[in-house]
Symmetry: D3
Subunit: 221 residues, 6 copies
Amino acid sequence: MKLLLINPNTDASFTELIGREARKGVFPGTEILCESAPGAPRFIETHKDEVLCAPGMMALAEKYSDVDGVVIACTCDPNLDVLRELLDCPVVGAGESSMLLALTLGARFSVLQTSESSVQAKRELVGKYGLSSRCASVRPILEDEGANLEERLIAAGKKARDLDGAEVITLGCAGFSGLDSRLTEALGIPVVDGVLAGVKMAEALASRGFTTSRRGKYRGE
Amino acid sequence: MKLLLINPNTDASFTELIGREARKGVFPGTEILCESAPGAPRFIETHKDEVLCAPGMMALAEKYSDVDGVVIACTCDPNLDVLRELLDCPVVGAGESSMLLALTLGARFSVLQTSESSVQAKRELVGKYGLSSRCASVRPILEDEGANLEERLIAAGKKARDLDGAEVITLGCAGFSGLDSRLTEALGIPVVDGVLAGVKMAEALASRGFTTSRRGKYRGE
Amino acid sequence: MKLLLINPNTDASFTELIGREARKGVFPGTEILCESAPGAPRFIETHKDEVLCAPGMMALAEKYSDVDGVVIACTCDPNLDVLRELLDCPVVGAGESSMLLALTLGARFSVLQTSESSVQAKRELVGKYGLSSRCASVRPILEDEGANLEERLIAAGKKARDLDGAEVITLGCAGFSGLDSRLTEALGIPVVDGVLAGVKMAEALASRGFTTSRRGKYRGE
Amino acid sequence: MKLLLINPNTDASFTELIGREARKGVFPGTEILCESAPGAPRFIETHKDEVLCAPGMMALAEKYSDVDGVVIACTCDPNLDVLRELLDCPVVGAGESSMLLALTLGARFSVLQTSESSVQAKRELVGKYGLSSRCASVRPILEDEGANLEERLIAAGKKARDLDGAEVITLGCAGFSGLDSRLTEALGIPVVDGVLAGVKMAEALASRGFTTSRRGKYRGE
Amino acid sequence: MKLLLINPNTDASFTELIGREARKGVFPGTEILCESAPGAPRFIETHKDEVLCAPGMMALAEKYSDVDGVVIACTCDPNLDVLRELLDCPVVGAGESSMLLALTLGARFSVLQTSESSVQAKRELVGKYGLSSRCASVRPILEDEGANLEERLIAAGKKARDLDGAEVITLGCAGFSGLDSRLTEALGIPVVDGVLAGVKMAEALASRGFTTSRRGKYRGE
Amino acid sequence: MKLLLINPNTDASFTELIGREARKGVFPGTEILCESAPGAPRFIETHKDEVLCAPGMMALAEKYSDVDGVVIACTCDPNLDVLRELLDCPVVGAGESSMLLALTLGARFSVLQTSESSVQAKRELVGKYGLSSRCASVRPILEDEGANLEERLIAAGKKARDLDGAEVITLGCAGFSGLDSRLTEALGIPVVDGVLAGVKMAEALASRGFTTSRRGKYRGE
């Protein structure tokens, strides 16, 4: 099985990190292609960034039209609807996949975000998927609550667990990939990485030959 | 006051229709600019079309940076979030505006769509705005229920009114502009045209100097 | 266009304030009549007050039956349903209108109330309009959080913005009219005054000849 | 225990019917006072009727200030909030009570109304109580679906049961009192009369000395 | 009337307490049978405990098949669906009943739980009944917030009232029975005991001969 | 990886069918154990059946305590909460898993049930998972709409697709296993079998070493 991971931004270290982590957890026979969307913004932070990375993402989808599944390796799932519309093979988002796996591990999940400014967008994404009643909170990590990313994620995760009643944590940025195991240990509750979750969902769907519905939302042209 | 109406598609007859209807209902002193998004698809029907018309819409917003308000003259409100993020002046969508006005005229509204294939997308738009509990239904017009557009809209509107309990109708396509008065008369309940509603909301907001919030969702860069 | 503003209570300074503020933002040709409901309680604070001000409000509606629109200039929107039922011209509430405008300026709004005792009633009003998912919070101003009304509103608004994630503020009392500009500046997010919002919505609706639906909720006798 | 049943309208046959039915199902020691609200409209059908019957209802509450509980014997529960605010003893509505009992008898209930024009108001009442997810439908009886009231109620009840999935029926008009047993038999599912339900809830609350909360919604003056 | 109270656990002091409190508030002629489910776990704390006490509960239901109503005297309402399915007479849960009575006494209720670990289960129970929008919070009592159970309940109740906006409190454990009066006095808002509420609801339902619907959810075999 | 499939009922042909279908779609290295819950009812149709199959399910879980994941091979997901509480390895239900996969293939799914009597229970299961807004309908197959199971499923699926707007179908009975491919072809939209979906979700979760959260809902003893 061949899966295409699309990094919607053009930060090379991101692409490298994502590809490396994705390959760790795959089933025998799963091959991971991981590329950055050509012509996309350096980072995906605004609504404008999301539309500007669309052409590059579509170009990648066309270039690798023979893959068995596609993972959008960014937890805000930019242009997920566009790619589902264009492609027959399963397309999943890192954000969506991390929430779906989280639903099976505890009653309510919290999402940890890189900054306060991205909280509302993620809250709306959860709402778009119809999962708000299962979401305990969306919390930003805070600059002054730790010396490094890991410490800040632990601080935010503890608040989600103790103040918001989160039973599971999902990582709200693909750049947090690789920290899930240590965070799981530190927080004592499951922590789900979006990129890995996306790979697992894509494997699950592609191995059974599922294709996106052509009725209604993803009807295409 | 100067308002920019953006037709996200490049169908010239659409642009002409929209501009003409918009100018009918304005307050003294309101000037309407109406342009088509350069480089956009001929019609906006798919998720792909929505992202492909974004660059042209952004270009128009930049070109007319001195306007007092912007109306996206398409009831699926493509790239509303992007333009709100980019501009300080009020930006409204024809779809959103028609629903907001409808809320003041009756308990529940129904939206009439051009085709069955666009129903789910509009349903999700209503949900995105948090207005699902006020929406009686989203209904397509049907080819075989009338000899022309007006007859088909009346047929669909009657079903919305009698079967779904709609007390108000909103027109789910900018191409229906100009038919609202005759439909109001035929159906006996208020019918709200999206383009006109957008102009009225933009006038209301711009006349009081409101600007889009820069906290959270529309923070921009 | 002639608009009737009804102050449901009989506090003369309220009526004077509301009329003065309302006239500030109107379009050329809009004439504002502003009167207090005869025989109403001094202030509208309880459910009993709401029913007791109804006869006076209906009397005003009858007296000025030639107006083009009516604004209930109290943010708890007392007897809005009664007047919509009785009148053909558009009738809007200050509370409802402030929320509808707020929806176009940010993802979620908070309402500031005069006292803790009125919080639940406003929360239910938001729910009645079907807008709970767009409401970040309803917050009271607190006696000990400022030397005057303006300071207390700023204190409450900061909590709404920083703790509840409000992107827009609506003023939950007509008596706050006139403070919106200074609050907008102090808080850095849009602040919507209910009376002004009501006037703008009434202008928008009346200028296009909309009338309340006679199907279902507002069918009348 | 002394319970006051308030008929908000002034139809004497209604008052007589309600009083007679209410007395049938009480516990030993429960005394039923049943009076019509003085000065109220003949029937309660509009929002205007609801506010116009308020003074008479308040007068009755004052006149019988020594009762142990009050039942508003109209299933649209007019002025329930006003009386709860004014009185310390429990106040229940026939509509609310019938829904609460119904919740214990099946998963979802349907409400049968006298006419299509009252359907939306009842739907909103269900929503106000937060019970929409438990309500299968609100259905009107139809003139041409039976030779008399009982036949029409059976026809509407069958549709609720078979098309909407109702497991329980509540009667949406106090004028339907006395028909519950025969309807239960005809439909094969529980049918809850509002007046009786109100009496049972009032007995339950009053026998334990419960009083309405004075925090928040019913704080009074 | 004969009511069966089933204590799902086998703690004898619980059974004794529940039976004693239940008998205090009944109408003349109501006889209370109170027994512990044979073979059940000592306490009902986990999902496993809930299924393990089912056979004993069913055995009691069969043994006392002539009763007029059944109360499950545990606020997590274990196996309520099972008993409703098996029995024709009304079956109510202490948790459900306390919430239903609370709905008539204030706008929103909070539930007080014995421990943090049971909060999510109770939150889901509220959701199962469709009452989430009326629930201000579910709060645990805390070991270090009082010298005894009563003090801890008062501390938690004050937080629910002042921080969460609860207007009514329901007691989330049958073991809190008997404390309702003192808590009502201490908190100044109504406090509803589950066992008593269950008895009152069962009396109300049984006195009118209601039976559980056999359509849909409780169809049985 | 070793996965345990638990058939909660004791119908041997069911167990055989489930095991055979489950093995078809697994990744290399996945071993499927499939057993029937000892002492369980012949079929799982009532709430009583659900609690009566619990001991057998727990016994299987204990017997095969070394497996990497457990699938409850019944789409009403009986005792899912109990097993999640007891086991550290991932436990998934066939019903839940089919819905989660369906979420990635279209906007809204419908569930097809064996009979009308099971519709409400499945509707509540969807609600329990917080997925109601993504569910177009729960529909029973009807005896008179086809000569065999496949024809009836196609008839019900067409109604779900055309009348309810379903974009994806999930099979609401483990006994429908093996028909998914033919139904997908006949209906032209994706059809998700619960048993297969459960196996894929279990593989996904187990391959990454996820374990159920011990905070809150599944805390256990």
